[in-house]
Symmetry: none
Subunit: 236 residues, 2 copies
DNA sequence: GCCAGAAACTGGTCTGACCAAAAGATGGGG
DNA sequence: CCCCATCTTTTGGTCAGACCAGTTTCTGGC
């Protein structure tokens, strides 16, 4: 019964497309929130019919890897959306205790990311992390705070671990946090003392990763995020 | 800001079709194994274009409610037609790399859980953890392996941290793992050496939590899950 | 410089055509 | 009358072109 043959299965075009895009997302070449070319363009690029392309996009949309917005475009979605089901997400936005729990999950993953990044980061990846650290501290002579660079710094660390799910989930939680806490965050990041503290903490994280010091990196990340958490809590 | 209106959402044709067929199947008017009319006929009957009909069928196929056999026809799902769609599960099952990433997320969270549990566990919670540890090692004189107690042991630790999201996510990932890896898991857990190793690792985790040794608990949990991961990988 | 109107673009839908494989119909030889 | 090769029809898979209804972008007149 068990022949040494594997089934010859002529793949459907749409499945090949799904596979390709899935890989691009997994490898980080397509990042969450990024917009894909339009259906017509993509079909032309991939040299397939628009119908096949649409089938593939529908599959990806159903898996949550991609989000189709009518008359706007196709966007790389967050897989974590499936892990954190929609009703749950709404709870997060409305319930502070639940949000605290969510934030702790972020800390769990980020601490692990920093640890793993310190072990495995390539010189290239370290450069990327360094560049975001620099762009965060370079924003003008006014020492202002740039939240985008902050997020990118964290995402770059997760990306250095080679696990795209970490990147997705961290970004997801960050987005929820931003939408819920933007006033608190703004207030906090106008105080020069706090900005300096954030810079220092980020530097500590970076140094540990650069020095290939896993436990140091994890600890630094933990300290940083716990500090942020406690700061935010004072404003709630 | 909060008007008493609900959003007018113009439904897509394909979604309406999905809804209709789903209802027919749920009500038993379409029975498992039964063959649906061909794409062209169905499109004509429903008075929609074939492309929309195909989109709907694809959705249903992905949910497992329907099975498309090339050049043969469309059949009502014969296996578990009542199963709800689980895109994430399907995604993980279809892609081993993604599953590995998901499993790493589990490790991130469980390591953090063990660490936090060692810090915060109450005597009561420690008792719960101990009881699952005992029930795992008590299953008969045959030293057999009880996967349910194993899971409960892990969940009890997460629960001791007071963060229900950790419990939720760990269980979710565990379920996905079990559905995908049940053969590998069964094979591994029939070897007495492996069972002994699992018992020992669980005991180490428990001891560290009982001793209120956070870093020890985290390390023990990490060793345990990495061991499981590598064991499973040898069978894949 | 601003803003209304036109043009280009987006995803959603429909139609008609072709392909390759499978199933069904046909027909001629035994 | 039966068998099997051949032709026809049907099936899902794919492609191309067209139209729709909103969105975005460009543009020209004020």
């Amino acid at each position: 019964m068990n022949y040494p043959f594997s089934a010859i299965r002529q793949s459907k075009v749409s499945e090949d497309i799904v596979e390709q895009i899935k890989t691009l997302i997994r490898e980080g070449q397509l990042k969450p929130g990024e917009r894909l070319p339009s259906e017509r363009q993509l079909a032309q690029i991939l040299e397939v019919g628009r119908s096949s392309l649409r089938e593939a996009i529908n599959s990806l949309a159903m898996m949550g890897l991609v989000e189709v917005r009518q008359r706007k475009g196709i966007y790389v979605g967050s897989v974590s959306a499936s892990l954190i089901s929609d009703p749950l997400r709404q709870l997060m936005a409305s319930d502070r205790d639940m949000f605290t729990h969510l934030y702790d999950i972020r800390i769990d993953i980020e601490v692990a990311s920093a640890t793993a990044a310190a072990e495995n980061r390539s010189t290239e990846q370290l450069g990327v992390i360094a560049s975001y650290l620099a762009s965060m501290q370079d924003t003008g002579h006014d020492h202002s705070y740039n939240p985008v660079s902050d997020l990118q710094f964290h995402l770059a660390i997760a990306e250095a671990t080679g696990n795209f799910l970490r990147v997705h989930i961290i970004k997801e939680i960050f987005d929820i946090a931003r939408s819920q806490l933007h006033t608190a965050i703004e207030t906090i990041t106008t105080l020069q003392g706090n900005i300096d503290a954030i810079f220092r903490q980020h530097s500590d994280i970076y140094k540990a990763i650069a020095d290939k010091d896993p436990s140091g990196a994890g600890a630094a990340m933990g300290i940083h995020l716990q500090w942020v958490k406690s700061e935010v809590n004072t404003f709630l």
